[in-house]
């Protein structure tokens, strides 16, 4: 009986609800991505006509940009935790630029594939699965960019301070997730499937 917890003086600390919610969202999103990845793998090499994955160029620079944005956002996260707001704003802005570069790269890639190789979403199974998988990821990057830009705008207006560190970090988890998914997409589409 005496070894039962006594609550008056015992700390009662629970995990942050934002982090738990973001982890849950990441699990849900992973399930969506898995289905598109499965569809892509299932249909590799089943086409009777139209362009094949050999028309793809590996987007190395894009990949470097997106993956390094994970690093810059991490530096920004640490900066806001320590209250260094200038540093936070600078690295947050760099993250946005890197993300923008990625999106522009993807747009260029799609344009080339459509105009040079005639690969459209209704061309064949490769077109169908390629555009839906890579497009799904690019959509997530776009959503992330909108969120990042909003936070940057609030920062420039001086509305973001050290007390928001937790929320900033929760949002950054989404960006890290989008980057991690790219590793999977890149591996499946540009290495295994090519």
């Amino acid at each position: 009986m005496s070894d039962l917890p006594i609550f008056a003086d015992e700390p009662w600390i629970l995990p942050s609800r934002g982090r738990i919610a973001m982890w849950s969202l990441i699990v849900a999103e992973s399930a969506i991505f898995s289905l598109f990845v499965v569809a892509y793998i299932y249909y590799i090499g089943r086409d009777q006509f139209g362009p094949t994955p050999s028309v793809l160029d590996r987007p190395i620079l894009n990949t470097v940009c997106l993956l390094s944005s994970s690093l810059t956002i991490w530096i920004a996260e640490r900066a806001i935790e320590q209250g260094r707001m200038r540093r936070f704003a600078i690295f947050w802005a760099i993250t946005i630029l890197l993300g923008l570069k990625f999106i522009i790269g993807t747009i260029t890639e799609f344009r080339t594939l459509i105009n040079r190789d005639g690969l459209t979403i209704d061309a064949n199974l490769f077109g169908t699965t390629f555009y839906s998988l890579v497009g799904l990821h690019a959509t997530h990057v776009l959503v992330g960019l909108v969120g990042l830009s909003l936070i940057l705008a609030f920062t420039l207006f001086g509305k973001v301070n050290r007390s928001h560190a937790e929320r900033i970090q929760v949002f950054s988890m989404y960006w890290h997730f989008v980057d991690a998914v790219w590793v999977v997409v890149f591996t499946v589409v540009y290495i295994v499937g090519k």
Binding site: L4, L14, S16, V27, A28, A31, I32, L35, I121, D122
Partner: protein, 562 residues
Amino acid sequence: MSDQTIPVSGSLQAAYPERGTLLEWLHGWIVTVDHKKLGILYITYALFFLLVGGVEAMLIRIQLMVPHNHVISPEMYDELFTMHGTTMVFLVGMPILFGFANYLVPIMIGARDMAFPRLNAFSFWLTAFGGLLLYYSFLGGFGLYGMGNAPDVGWFAYAPLTGKSFSPGHNMDYWALALIVSGFGTVGTAINIIATTVSLRCKGMTFFRMPLFVWLLLVVSALTLVTITPLTAAQVMLLLDRYLGAHFFDAQAGGSPMLWIHFFWIFGHPEVYVLVLPAFAIANEVIPVFSRKAIFGYPAMVAASVGIGFTSLAVWAHHMFTVGMSSAGNSFFVISTMVVGIFTGIKVFNWLATMWGGSITFSTPMLFCTGFLFQFLIAGLTGIMLAVAPWDWQLHNSYFLIAHFHYVLVGAIIMCIFAGFYYWFPKATGRMMSETLGKWHFWVFIIGFHMSFDTMHFVGLLGMPRSIYTYEPNRGWDTLNLIITIGAFVQAVGVLIFVWNLVHAYFRGKLAGPDPWDAWTLEWATPSPPPAYNFAVEPEVRSRRPLWDIKHPNDPDWKYEQ
């Protein structure tokens, strides 16, 4: 130490707001972010669609009452069974269970609201408008060119029937978009429930002191995250096929309709557990209270629930034994399906052990839970039969299958939902539902249930396939089908008694007081109905039955629990 008790917040009288004008009252419900009001909204919404889905079922049964019947057209019949299935799963089953979760999870863990109240409201309205969008297809399904028509390809919407060439018009688009919209709402609520349960528990509410209701809803929400999303993904693919000419499920371009079947059941089977686990959760609360015993085997119940959650992700292809998988594939899914039987077996035995030796009062909630135990056992046994691949080859898509899953959905889930209504209605409204009407409801409904669904097994064994518009006389199905239809009417009478009981109790029911059942979980420590803030002072708990500890200071649970 022993003077530390939960502050029963009834001491602080809730200041009830004055009833304003009708417009103010309506506005209050629409802009609310209170988890209790949203819970009630969910439940009311689901009850409305329960009646709609019920009417659809009645029309189907009237059509099948006698051979060569032509009460409704074949096209209408296809729409009705599609809409009946879709409605009951997406617009009744999930909203009603999330409604209970919304109302109860925060109170049971001693919190003042959900983790994200505005996300909660947003999710509800997404679900609500998803449902309306689905039903709008009756008017707008064929666009501007003619009469509307509803989705008519079965609730599993197998490819290639859903392709542009076989389903022109917009009915499939309504189906996919409506379910994507309500699916987002569902995922939002699931995230909310997980965050609430993990991060908002009151002092002392460790994971192993949470009521089993909360545990099961946590498992359900986690399962929802990986269950609803595959359906969303597959429906996005379907829309890409229909609008942009993609080829995911288009066999002519090398696409595979099999992919849809897999994707659909990767959603579809865990979905069954998403629906049934909250029903178990209700039984977990009701059975101990009316047996006057703590739940038997709490850790085993938790383990079995988590086990069901994981196993349910690996059984989907038992819906697909007849599509021609390899025998290794068949064997795997036979075995994994049997494993689910072990976990549910653990649960059934624990409920029985809870009742064993208890001083049972058969109030209406307990009656429904007892009915649930009996019917769920039979549903589980026919489930095991259908899990055997050769047996399934014989009876797949026959009325035997229909009987099996209606035994689960009606015999187990709806029964538990009724139990939940009778049990928590006094908490939500402050008034008791009539016991006399409740007993009438129970007996009428259960007699109708067995007339309908027991008989369905036999027509199934006699070879009647599902989804047929009508049938030839003298195949031995005539009398049985008539009995099924009469049973459906008897059930409808039962449901009407229930609805009357609800309405009557809301206005005229006798006052309940905070704790009419002498129960043990935290929701009964608040006044009925609870004030917006739930608890005036944040409670602290020391055992699984905090109210027992207060009521029996000389014999508290925390002395014995590990």
